[in-house]
Symmetry: C2
Amino acid sequence: MTPTPQTLTAERILEATEEVLRRHGPAKATVVDVARALGVSHGSVYRHFRTKAALREAVTKRWLDRTSDSLSGIVAEDRDPEARLRAWFSALFAAKRRKAGDDPELFATYMVLTEENGEAVGEHIAELISQLRRIVRAGVDAGTFTADDPSATARALFHASRRFHDPRYAVEWEQPGTEADFDAVVDLLLRGLRA
Amino acid sequence: MTPTPQTLTAERILEATEEVLRRHGPAKATVVDVARALGVSHGSVYRHFRTKAALREAVTKRWLDRTSDSLSGIVAEDRDPEARLRAWFSALFAAKRRKAGDDPELFATYMVLTEENGEAVGEHIAELISQLRRIVRAGVDAGTFTADDPSATARALFHASRRFHDPRYAVEWEQPGTEADFDAVVDLLLRGLRA
């Protein structure tokens, strides 16, 4: 009954950690639970993540990165910046709604983890704003957007759309009229950007 | 030692209720505390507010109305709609920051009360959006704003500025850069409105 030997990677530990968090909740999940789920000693887990806090931070970062990674493809697309920006906002809102709606327990768990890991959240927001800045710059270069300070404009776009991606509003995302409100905000912002 | 007789009005009860809430916190404040603070029987209080819940709702509404009442003067001003809208956003943000910063205990108390009184909050938001709609319409009438659907635009202006008036963000309002972020959002929104 020797288990198939498989290299214990950080990624495998993070996958198992997410599953343990989903099952036990953020208050009860321990490193021992993660080790048990992987069939390894807790020492093997600690060789990759030196503390429980480091493991929790890494799994939070991985969860946040999944969203920003999925958006980076839109930023890199070779089509007109206005369409790219619209697609980016829609994809961000859709990704957040999916996370909140498809697996509410896991979402609630990550809400606790993001409270604990302000630095990971800060880096995630900085990455999203940096993606917005790249699209704004592309629009300015193409002559279709006006923005004296693309960094400030990117921050403004981020803040003005928070109602539609900040998890604090998750319970309101499925209310009637939300889709129309989202469209009205994006339309107004795009009008504001136009050269 | 007969106290000066003074008519027991709803307004006097609400003032006393706010003071009792500030002192005891929302979990402990009772109608008996309010009656004691006024030197009347709790029956006299119940003649104005039939339940403790009704009293708590009325005091929440009064607190919210203080903000919207202070903004209604700006809506009625006879100056150009763009300046009016800018002044309205600034006054709203300033009023909320004052409420959160000047009396944190009372603010925390009202955060609990607004959670309980979703209907009062809904009416407050509807009133703010209605004020925005009046300014948007004035701009369309003056030919300085473009808005196909002033109601939808008013909702968009409300949602796009939530970072700067939704109490959920109160702890972030005093962070460095907030003022610049606020200006960038308002500038972008006003550009989006221009005819």
